[in-house]
Every structure is written in C-alpha cells, then in structure tokens.
C-alpha cells in the first residue's frame, strides 16, 4: 500500500499562525499534527488557521485529530479557524458539528479578513 503522508508547515503572521496542511489526514497523521500544533501554540498566537486547501482526504480518525486540536485550542483560549475545505468536507464538518466551534472560510483572504474585522471591532 502507498504510504499516505501528511505534510505541515507553519506561517507566522502577526498574532496568528497559519498551518498549511498537505496530503491526507488519518491515523498516520497523529504524531505530525500533535507536533505542529504544539509548535504553533508555543508562539502564543491568538488564532491558528488550518489551511485544508491541499488536503484530499480526511477520515473519521482525522476528524478525531481535528477535534483534539480544537479541544486544546479551546483550553488555551486560542481561536481555531479553517479554510480550503472541499464542499464534501464542509458537509462533514457540519454534520459532526465541528463547524459550530470552528469557523470555516472558503479561502485564506476571507479567513484573514474575518480576523482583521474581528480585531478592528
């Protein structure tokens, strides 16, 4: 079987971190997601944005990993946002109610502008 890898990189913007994800999110992603989230957290951002635009597959274990990240973010008062999800995964975020706790945007610009807008308020 092909080994499906997830890649993640951090972009440090003023007071926020964007985690660019690439690949597939399933059981094999656990270690990397834990690591990258804790790296992001160490920078003390007020918001972390997950970029899913290069993610082709998320399974139920992947959903559980995102739930874990969201739980950590809520514990430390960090806002967790997401963008770049396909309509299918938006549907899954809706039925799992993840979208009730994590704002979803179509793209980076809309996510950033929403944060900006919030900050301006």
């Amino acid at each position: 079987m092909p080994v499906n890898l997830i890649e993640a990189s951090l972009r440090n913007l003023p007071d926020l971190i964007i985690i660019d994800l690439r690949g597939e999110i399933d059981a094999k992603s656990e270690e990397l997601l834990d690591q990258v989230y804790s790296d992001a957290e160490k920078m003390n951002p007020s918001a972390i944005i997950l970029n899913f635009s290069k993610v082709g597959y998320i399974n139920s274990t992947g959903i559980a990993l995102i739930v874990s990240m969201l739980a950590k973010a809520r514990k430390t008062g960090v806002k967790l946002l997401a963008y770049g999800l396909s309509s299918h995964y938006i549907e899954i975020f809706q039925i799992t109610r993840l979208s009730d706790f994590m704002k979803i945007f179509p793209d980076e610009a809309s996510a950033l502008s929403a944060i900006q807008h919030k900050t301006d308020e």
């Binding site: 079987m1 092909p2 499906n4 059981a27 597959y57 399974n59 139920s60 274990t61 959903i63 559980a64 990993l65 739930v67 874990s68 969201l70 739980a71 809520r74 514990k75 396909s86 309509s87 299918h88 549907e91 899954i92 039925i95 799992t96 109610r97 993840l98 009730d100 706790f101």
Partner: protein
C-alpha cells in the same frame, strides 16, 4: 513369507566351455549361478528328494517328472538334492565326469558334504533375494502412493468459498492408502456456487488419476451446463470412453443460488445429502447411475430451498462405512439420528466428528477417506435505519454490479472506495453522492478491517455492489460475527471538546449520515454493512 520352494529354484551347473555352448539349452547357459529356474511345485521330483535326500544319477530315476526330463536334456548326469529343514531348496547338477564313465562312491560322498554346506547358504541366499524383491515391490507401491497422495492433496480444495450469508465447512481425513474421494466448489455465473462430492472405486494411483480426470471434466462442464443433471450426463458420456473397465465414479452435483437459497442437484449413485432444517431432517433424493458405467444415462434432478438456518451436509463413504473394533458400522442410521439430534445446536460438524471418533476408538485402522462438507444458510439478525430492509423489500430486482475481496490491511479502505466508484461509474449519481459513498465505503471498510477482522490479513473484507432501478447498495462484509458491533450513538462533541469523552468514535455516525439507508446484518460469523444510495437523487446540497 513366501514359500521359497515355489519361487526360487536354483540350478548350479558346471561352467560350460564356449565350444560346447550350443549343446546346452539357452536357459541353462544364460541362467548361471543364482538365477531362478522354476520347478513346478507338483513335480514328483520334489517329493522324491525330500524322501531320499541323496545324490543320484538321473538315469536311475523313474519318475514322470518334467524337471527330470529337462535335466536330462541339459545333459545333467548326477543330481545332489539340497535339503534344508526337510524341504528341497535346490539341486546341485553335474554333467558327465570328464574322462570317466560314472561318479564313484567317493565323488558322491564329497558331493554330499558339499551339498550339506551349500544347503544352508542357499537357503540364506534365497531368503535375502525374497526380501529384496519384497522391498522393491514395497518401494514401487510407496512411490505410487506418494504420487497419488500429491495429486489428491493438490486437488482437494484447501479453502472454502466465501458467500455472504452462508457458512461453508469442510473436513477431510485421508486414509493411509490413497483413495479416489474428492469434493470441489466452483464459482459459476450470476454468483451461483457449484458443489460436487464424489468417489472413484478402488484405491491407489490409477484411482487418483481417474479422480483427477473426473474433477477436470466436472469443472469444465459445471461452467458450461445449466443444470446438475446435464452436467452429470455429459461427464458420464466423457468418462465412459476413457475409464478403466473395472472402475466407476459416484458423484453428487449441486448448484446453489446464494441469494435465494435455491439448490438444484443430481446424483450419480453417491450418498444422499442430508438437509438439516428446524422442523427435521430430509434426505435429498435424485436417482442416477454412477459415472463411467453406461453411456447416455439420464440423471434425475431434484430441487429444494435452503432457508435461513438450514444446513446441507455431504459426506463420503469413509464416514458411514467406518467400522469400530467390534466390526460394527457407523452407518447412515446413526448419522441421520445425530444430525436430527443436533437441530438448533451450533457446531454440528464438531459434534459429529467427536461422536465418530468415540465410535471408531483409538486404535482405529482407517480404511477410507472421511470427508464432510457442510453449507449452512445463516440465521440473520438485522439492525437498520428505517422500518424495513431495503434489500429484502425489493428482493429479486437487484443485480450484482461487482464483487471483490480485500485483505485486512491498514490503508486498503481507500482502494475499496476507488473500486466501488469504478464499479458504479455508469450509474446516475451526482458528485456529492459519489463523495459521500467514497467516505462511507472507506469508513465501513476500515471498521471491517479494524473491528471485524482485527487486522488479520488472512480474513478478507468482501465488498459487493448491487443496483436496482432506483438505488445502489454496497455490502461490506467482515469475518467477525461473534464480535459486537460498536455502538453508533451520536457522538457528543461538547463532551469530546471538554475532554470528557474520547475524541474518536465518529465512524458509524459519519457512515449513517453519508447514505440514504444504512443497515447492519449480523450473523454468527459475519457482519455486513449495507450502504444504500438512491439514484438520481437530490442535488449536491444536503
């Protein structure tokens, strides 16, 4: 041990000078020392020498003996009998003394002494020779036995067919001497299963070769012919022209439609299959001559339906004809009684085998192969979303688009989705529906691998795609019927976010939300998740 007198007469002749060779019979010339020359066991010369064990000139003998005539023809003058334990074991034959007329008394005494020495040695030589022949005969038999064994072992299927909703079991205990027993399964068109069990008369290598031939012809004809009677009729005609005249084959041939439980069968003189049902047992009768005896035979066909819980039992002679130490036979009556007593209990085969072992006892000398083949339609329990089962409510109108099996390895779930999409590529499903099915199939396959099959690569996940005019269904079956299906209660996200519940446990919940109808069928041996999506359904928004 064999009677040496009968088989190993030795004649010891004087070395013949080359010039004289043509005066002697070729047998004697070629025989030389130690080559057997047979004397008829009824020849009076044997009785004579056993009564008078002394050297004698053959001219002095007046016997109506062929051996004596032959000796005389060979030019033998004096014969010294070699007697061991009162039995004639050989003759020391001498022709004319060179230069002298007759053997004198001294010569005879000397020869008598020589004979005394030779007798025991000859007896030993004969014994060694007989052992050598026995060993070589045994080695030939052992060689044949090994070949026959390899053929039979290669042809007897090691794996039982996998049919969702059915449980097949086989048991084969070969006898020491290779027999002509066989059974086989064939996957036929439209998901049907062909099933044969048979026995070639006799034992050993020729029998095994006839068995192999019969099995090949059966395999070929099962694929071509529509009914078991037609199959047996054709196989009989083909075998009649090829089979050795003293051999024939008994064979039961059946075809099962696993979707309906309909079973058609024909029987060429094999043991009657027993059908075990909740209400009693039934022997499935259909008449027909064994294969290979007479051409152009017609085979009666029978038909029945195996309902959920029913079991079909096929078996070999070796089971019913086994004898215990009191020479009592296991018998059909005992078998029928046992099968009847086991109605409603699990593990008929194990019970049967343990009773059989008890009957035959520890020192049992197994004469024939013991074969048991059983096929049970599973009792089903259903858990589904909605009032009734989609599949059963539209039984008959579904067609199978594809069926495949995958090993229980992590990551295979993606392949499952891809294959399912490929199979249903011509169906009117929109992109959202395809995406949902992709996710649902992958999740259900992952469940089957993880929970049902416990990542055991030997346990396959079987996936079948069926379609009707209005819907498509994906059946995903694992091999873990005894395991409990994890509950599919709605996950509590707040509790998960608060760390009060594991972040996991989304699989079944997501699957249910992805499809229009969801059903789990559990049996003793499998779980099947059936995912159904209505065709030409709603637009992408859900």
């Amino acid at each position: 041990m064999k009677d040496l007198q009968k088989d190993f007469w030795l004649t010891i002749v004087r070395q013949v000078p080359e010039t004289n060779q043509d005066q002697l019979s070729p047998e004697i010339t070629e025989s030389g020392m130690g080559t057997p020359w047979q004397i008829d066991p009824d020849d009076p010369i044997i009785g004579y020498f056993q009564e008078f064990p002394e050297a004698v000139e053959i001219e002095e003998l007046n016997l109506n003996s062929t051996a004596l005539d032959q000796l005389s023809e060979f030019g033998v003058k004096l014969v010294v009998p070699l007697i061991n334990q009162g039995k004639l074991v050989g003759l020391l034959n001498l022709d004319e003394q060179s230069g002298e007329e007759n053997y004198i008394r001294n010569d005879r005494r000397l020869l008598g002494n020589l004979a005394n020495q030779a007798e025991a040695m000859l007896k030993i030589a004969q014994w060694v020779r007989s052992r050598q022949l026995e060993i070589s005969e045994r080695e030939d038999l052992e060689h044949d036995r090994r070949i026959a064994n390899v053929i039979q072992e290669t042809l007897i299927p090691r794996e039982v067919p996998f049919l969702p909703g059915w449980q097949a079991k086989t048991y084969w205990q070969p006898a020491k001497e290779v027999s002509g027993d066989f059974y086989d399964f064939f996957n036929l068109a439209n998901g049907r299963l062909g099933l044969v069990i048979g026995d070639v008369t006799d034992k050993g290598l020729p029998t095994t070769l006839v068995m192999a031939t019969t099995r090949s012809i059966l395999r070929d004809e099962m694929i071509r012919k529509a009914s078991p009677g037609q199959v047996l009729s054709k196989v009989n005609n083909l075998l009649c022209s090829d089979i050795p005249h003293n051999m024939f084959v008994t064979c039961l041939c059946a075809i099962l439609d696993p979707n309906t439980g309909n079973l058609s069968y024909a029987n060429a003189g094999h043991n009657l299959p027993i059908c075990q049902r909740m209400q009693g047992i039934e022997e499935l009768r259909a008449t027909g001559m064994p294969l290979g005896l007479f051409p152009e035979m017609v085979y009666e066909e029978g038909a029945t339906t195996l309902e959920p819980g029913d079991k079909l039992l096929l078996f070999s002679d070796g089971l019913v004809e086994a004898h215990n130490k009191d020479r009592e036979m296991f018998g059909f009556g005992r078998l029928r009684e046992l099968v009847e007593d086991c109605i409603g209990c699990e593990g008929l085969e194990d019970i049967l085998l343990s009773k059989f072992d008890e009957f035959t006892g520890e020192m049992w000398e197994q004469e024939d192969d013991v074969i048991i083949v059983s096929l049970q339609r599973e009792q089903l329990s259903r858990a589904s979303d909605g009032a009734s089962s989609i599949q059963s409510s539209q039984e008959g109108s579904w067609i199978v688009l594809g069926e495949f099996s995958l090993p229980s390895e992590a990551g295979v779930e993606r392949l499952a989705s891809e294959k399912v999409l490929q199979v249903m590529k011509n169906l009117p499903l929109n992109k959202a529906q395809k995406d949902r099915l992709t996710t649902a199939v992958a999740e259900a396959t992952m469940n089957a691998i993880e929970h049902g099959n416990q990542f055991d690569p030997k346990k396959p996940v079987i996936i079948k795609v069926t379609a009707s005019d209005s819907a498509v269904s994906v059946h995903i079956t694992d091999q873990g019927g005894s395991l409990i299906v994890p509950g599919s209660k709605e996950p509590d996200l707040e509790a998960k976010l608060a760390g009060l519940e594991s972040p996991r446990g989304w699989g079944l919940f997501i699957i249910r939300k992805m499809v229009d109808h969801f059903e789990i069928i559990s049996s003793e041996f499998h779980h099947t998740i059936i995912l159904t999506m209505f065709l030409g359904g709603e637009a992408d928004a859900r």
